[in-house]
């Protein structure tokens, strides 16, 4: 499998920075900005491409863990939403990224159904569990996208390889 992804991405980056970007007309700010972002995206892809599948599996598994901990109580709409979520969780689609999206959609639907006829205690617990899960997921995603430079607290983040290693070893601090 040669040339591999790393070499192709590096070649693209070099073409951009040594040939294409210098050829952009100095007054064309839009093209300059888009070229700079393109280089930034290539750098991120170079880091992410061979970690994308394990990362998607980690995200899917943490969402499944949230679903497994729910104790649902409520009226017909809540029960119907829960049934849908359980169906997705018991047979998640492949690949893992698709499973993550399907589970997220079913979970969002459950939150909205619980707003309409969920038992008060269940709804309170659901909100807490979703926020705790969301906070952990945000921490993972911050590490995943840290190269973009938007995070003012980047210094506090774990490295993505550390996070993936913890998941591979079955530790829950992933």
């Amino acid at each position: 499998m040669s040339p591999d992804f790393d070499l192709r991405l590096k070649s693209m980056r070099r073409a951009m920075t040594t040939v294409i970007m210098p050829a952009i007309e100095p007054g064309n700010q839009l093209a300059q900005e888009q070229a700079a972002i393109l280089v930034g995206q290539l750098d991120m892809l170079a880091m992410q491409w061979n970690r994308a599948e394990p990362y998607a599996r980690l995200c899917r598994d943490e969402l499944l863990r949230l679903v497994a901990g729910l104790r649902v109580a409520g009226g017909s709409e809540t029960k119907a939403a829960w049934a849908t979520l359980q169906a997705v969780a018991s047979d998640p689609p492949a690949p893992a990224a698709a499973a993550f999206n399907s589970l997220s959609a079913a979970m969002e639907n459950l939150v909205r159904a619980a707003d309409r006829d969920g038992d008060a205690d269940f709804r309170r617990q659901l909100h807490r569990d979703v926020l705790l899960y969301g906070h952990a997921q945000a921490a993972r995603d911050r590490s995943w996208f840290v190269q973009c430079g938007f995070d003012v607290n980047a210094a506090e983040l774990k490295g993505i390889d550390e996070i993936l290693a913890a998941h591979a070893e079955g530790r829950v601090d992933a």
Binding site: Q41, E108, R128, V130, Y133, H135
Partner: protein
């Protein structure tokens, strides 16, 4: 379900009628195919027709070129020479099919006309409200000299991560506050704000308008589902604060959205008025508290809009306006704003996915603000439900 939530879910459609009409129009636009921006020469030709039909005779358009920036709009700079007058530079802002947000050039034009009475802004000169001349809604303003960041400071896209030294903070912070106080002193009943609805049906309508706006944007164009977004929406609906004094809200009041002269240190223009509306003054304060729009100082303390520490920021506002800042209300709007920016970022991704913008790559890049926003949002929310 709580009574408050039940009542609010019944009023999902309670929205500034002008924004409702705008979003109704957007729903139709979303069915269109790939957005193919017209070439600068083509737009220049349309512009010359527009100017001629608006009474600008014997005028020559030159140096017409695209500008970067403007995460949601196409922007062009040009020089206009009218016979007998000195050449002047102008900025043309034009709608693509979709972007991070749908806004109205008509409202932006109106609010600039009103705001320029009290703060420096680009002068609104010509409006194409429905795209009859330029092919899409557009407006033309004067060009204002200035920069959004010091030469040595550096900044990312859309002004995120602008770096200020202590000296720059000392020069800019008082002006920043003066501008905010002046904007919040505008008469919201000014007849020129013809396309702005005043949310005064009840004390909660100002907050409800904002929640309903971003809830609708999410429902119609979120790129990916989010249970966190739904939980936060529930909380926002159940905890709406009263608004006892309505003001003109800039809607994106933060570092990155003003220009200053690097030699004099004077702020030369407040920009990006497209989210302006009538609402609660806490909302504009909250923009500066959303973490992605700030930075840390030399001692590691968080700086609102990279200018002031939070307590200083609030004290200065209270002193400048005589108003009291309600910390609970401020916190509500901080959550609402972080939540709304998540909706904008997701909408931007959908626009990029649909090829409805001229800067798909920029929208994709900007959407990566979402993880830090969700971190802040979930942290604030967990503090709310587990005090």
């Amino acid at each position: 379900m709580t009574a408050a939530l039940l009542e609010d879910l019944r009023s999902l459609d309670d929205q500034d009628r002008f924004l409702t009409a705008m979003l109704d129009g957007r729903a139709k636009k979303l069915l269109s195919g790939d957005y193919m921006p017209a070439s600068p020469p083509e737009i220049r030709g349309r512009l010359e027709t527009m100017l001629r039909e608006n009474g600008v005779e014997a005028a020559e358009v030159s140096d017409f070129r695209r500008l970067a920036g403007g995460a949601s709009k196409e922007q062009f700079l040009f020089t206009l020479a009218i016979a007998g007058e000195a050449p002047e530079r102008f900025v043309l802002r034009m709608d693509p099919t979709d972007g991070v947000l749908e806004t109205s050039r008509e409202r932006e034009f109106e609010v600039l006309a009103v705001a320029r009475d009290v703060v420096p802004v680009p002068e609104p000169r010509w409006l194409d409200p429905d795209g009859r001349w330029l092919g899409a809604p557009a407006m033309i303003t004067s060009f204002v000299e200035g920069t959004t960041k010091p030469t040595a400071g550096g900044a990312g896209i859309s002004g995120l991560g602008t770096g200020f030294t202590p000296d720059w903070r000392k020069r800019l912070a008082p002006q920043f506050m003066t501008l905010l106080a002046a904007i919040h002193g505008v008469d919201i009943r000014d007849a020129r704000l013809a396309h702005f609805e005043v949310p005064d049906a009840d004390p909660y309508q100002a907050a409800r308008f904002r929640v309903n706006l971003w809830s609708r944007v999410w429902r119609e164009s979120a790129m990916a589902p989010s249970p966190v977004f739904a939980v936060v929406e529930s909380w926002l609906r159940e905890n709406m604060p009263r608004t006892d004094e309505l003001v003109l809200v800039h809607g994106d009041f933060r570092t990155g959205n003003y220009l200053f002269n690097e030699e004099s240190g004077e702020i030369t223009a407040m920009l990006d008025w497209e989210l302006a509306h009538i609402g609660d003054y806490h909302e504009d304060l909250a923009w500066s508290l959303v973490e992605i729009f700030g930075a840390h100082d030399e001692e590691g303390a968080y700086l609102c809009s990279n200018l002031m520490r939070e307590d200083d920021f609030i004290a200065r506002y209270e002193e400048a306006t005589g108003r009291t800042v309600n910390r609970k209300t401020l916190r509500y709007y901080r959550i609402l704003l972080a939540w709304s920016v998540v909706a904008m970022a997701s909408n931007g991704l959908t626009a990029a996915s649909n090829h409805h913008n001229h800067q798909d790559i920029l929208l994709t890049w900007l959407s990566m603000v979402t993880p830090p926003l969700l971190d802040e949002l979930t942290r604030l929310m967990l503090e709310e439900i587990e005090p």
